[in-house]
Symmetry: D2
Amino acid sequence: MTLRVTVWNEFRHEKQNELIGAIYPDGMHTAIANRLRKESDFEVRTATLDEPEHGLTQEVLDTTDVLTWWGHRAHAEVSDEVVERIRERVLDGMGLIVLHSAHYSKIFKALMGTSCSLKWREANDNERIWIVNPAHQITRGLPEYIDIEREEMYGEYFDIPAPDELLMVSWFKGGEVFRSGCTFTRGRGKIFYFRPGHESYPTYYNEQVLQVIINAVRWAAPSGGPAPTFHNYQPLESLEG
Amino acid sequence: MTLRVTVWNEFRHEKQNELIGAIYPDGMHTAIANRLRKESDFEVRTATLDEPEHGLTQEVLDTTDVLTWWGHRAHAEVSDEVVERIRERVLDGMGLIVLHSAHYSKIFKALMGTSCSLKWREANDNERIWIVNPAHQITRGLPEYIDIEREEMYGEYFDIPAPDELLMVSWFKGGEVFRSGCTFTRGRGKIFYFRPGHESYPTYYNEQVLQVIINAVRWAAPSGGPAPTFHNYQPLESLEG
Amino acid sequence: MTLRVTVWNEFRHEKQNELIGAIYPDGMHTAIANRLRKESDFEVRTATLDEPEHGLTQEVLDTTDVLTWWGHRAHAEVSDEVVERIRERVLDGMGLIVLHSAHYSKIFKALMGTSCSLKWREANDNERIWIVNPAHQITRGLPEYIDIEREEMYGEYFDIPAPDELLMVSWFKGGEVFRSGCTFTRGRGKIFYFRPGHESYPTYYNEQVLQVIINAVRWAAPSGGPAPTFHNYQPLESLEG
Amino acid sequence: MTLRVTVWNEFRHEKQNELIGAIYPDGMHTAIANRLRKESDFEVRTATLDEPEHGLTQEVLDTTDVLTWWGHRAHAEVSDEVVERIRERVLDGMGLIVLHSAHYSKIFKALMGTSCSLKWREANDNERIWIVNPAHQITRGLPEYIDIEREEMYGEYFDIPAPDELLMVSWFKGGEVFRSGCTFTRGRGKIFYFRPGHESYPTYYNEQVLQVIINAVRWAAPSGGPAPTFHNYQPLESLEG
């Protein structure tokens, strides 16, 4: 079964900052999409903030099985109308992969109900991401941990609801830990938050990081479960007679 | 330790419908508050929709440990400003008990991130509420189930995030089940959703239903845990030297 | 990818009771296996209690991706050695589907740590199984509920640990509810408990019940996640220098 | 309400190793019990391995609300009969606090159903225990993290079922993380696993560590919820007529 993936990116840092542009000349979305396209069952598109409707028209969302989201400085520029459109699609079954600083995106905050705040530090910390649920499909093909030589630190308390499943916990050299791989369900939709990916590091070329995203796309694919109905409901026929 | 409880009610049905007014002449909030006042460690106030700021000024909320909420037809009339004020207090540790049709209140939907929709039927169904987690403090003093002779039916699918803890499941004569007692955590705040309490039945005089609310108030009291800080964070001193 | 499934059955009732033998002339395992064999990616074997080592030699288990288990009266006859062998394989990643009265099997009790007791009644109750998590892969292709005209009743309290995910809740005509579809993780192994399937009813010919088992087999397939190592561990090389 | 606490200890290291005996001259149990006795609502006893029935007769357990457990080298010497006796009491509502190396005790393994294995290292690591659920009663009065200057390292993967609630995650200087504060429910009993407390460090004199144990005792107190009944069950009277 083909999975239709849309890779969304704010795509501002890469154009405004020379160093970041040198790492991701065509944007982080292109780096991610290029890797996803190597999976024969994925059909991959990209979309970015400055396109009309941020590239996320109703038609695009209606033909998207899984949406990945990276944003940072321009969260406020994402229109509330598009955010609500995404939320409806998630509740209806579209998967959502929330990357790094998108913890603070409008769509993630709307789906979580909390502040989604955290501690942070840009100081070239070592990050070691430990797998704490090796039974989960998202950990397929991974070693016991993923080492990232340099990353921005994110530290607890991370103000999210308790995840349905906690898959990964990061260790940072400076003394912090972070719940780095978290699953959530909202309506018929599955959501995966994955921590790494600060714009000034080449994290989205790391094969293990990309493997997690690929696994997460497969996991977050629509379940094919029943579409719930909400209405004034009649009793069991078998009891009426 | 004294717990400061504020019992909130929309308080419209009781004034507009004679039959409902006959059941709750002073409003459902008064019925609930009168019972809570018998607990020597509770200090109880009430507040209603038509008071200024719905009776929920910043000062009232700041001195409330646990807020109980009943609303139905007038959810839309609750001001967004007050909803946000409540949400901030919940994230900061205030407990919230969400009763019956308040599943569709602005505050519950904002904290859940989902539609909070369900099936319903007003047909004098029998309801039997089974306890499925007898280890939980909220089940103190209860039998294995609570029978309610007549109630409105609520049926699955109930569009909420998976609760942190599922305590109760309702059986309805007409053929439905419902997750009737659900706990959630948001920030430092604890939330309990409890199903029974349709306005046209004398449910809030049922001693077992009231016992659940009393237990839930004690459970939802502020934890006294650490207030999280969110900011640019410095590394471990012990590693700096 | 081919999934190697072993369908295990106690296979006593069918031989000892004429009425049950008439429903399942070749045993319940054969009814289940025949349906699973129609899935082109499944490779299906069966095994039963009275075979040597209950048909579950180390070699059979080592080449089993997912094991389904039905037992009832003869739980005590399953050897502790084979139970421990199964437990090791589950912790190492083999999926386990636990059916109906197998709630009381040695292997399920060993993996849960609780009594796994419940209420029951054989009285031709109607059962209606409601889906309460339509985002889950195990609900693929199902309607909002499954009706079973006649089944044994199982009622709460069901003494299991809180499931990782609650997928289904049964309603019974006589006034009970039951957590009928429950997932658990133990080590790298995934476990699904599914309630229906009393031996005196033709439940394992019900297409929707069989669809749940098929979906559960796919869900419980080994994750391919990292094999954990447990030992005296050396520190990060990057910190040693 | 008075809480009857029994503090259990293997009490071998302290007698066999001079350095450890110097830290805990009367045993770790005495250090813990002395602090618990300062809580006016606690009634505290101790019990140790080498007493008859390990100090845990049926009468002692029947009058214990919460049992704390520390063991290490002599897990195998705890009699299976006493382990089963404890398990029955936990399922019936007695709280259990499992400390440090008791992750590998017979009673914890029996209640978890997994291997409860982990990585470890004795190398005077710094440990920093971060609170990841500040809404929980067990975090009362604590700062955002607890620093322990020197401790044994425990590292993931920790082979336990996913905890009902994850309260704390440890950071170790050498590069590891660990789920250090975990709650579980089994039957009517509440269980808390708490990581720190290696015998060769003075951890059980650390006021914050002791505060966690005190909070956990209060949290694990019997719920007073309904005692489940398991039997052949009759249908709703209201439906029979």
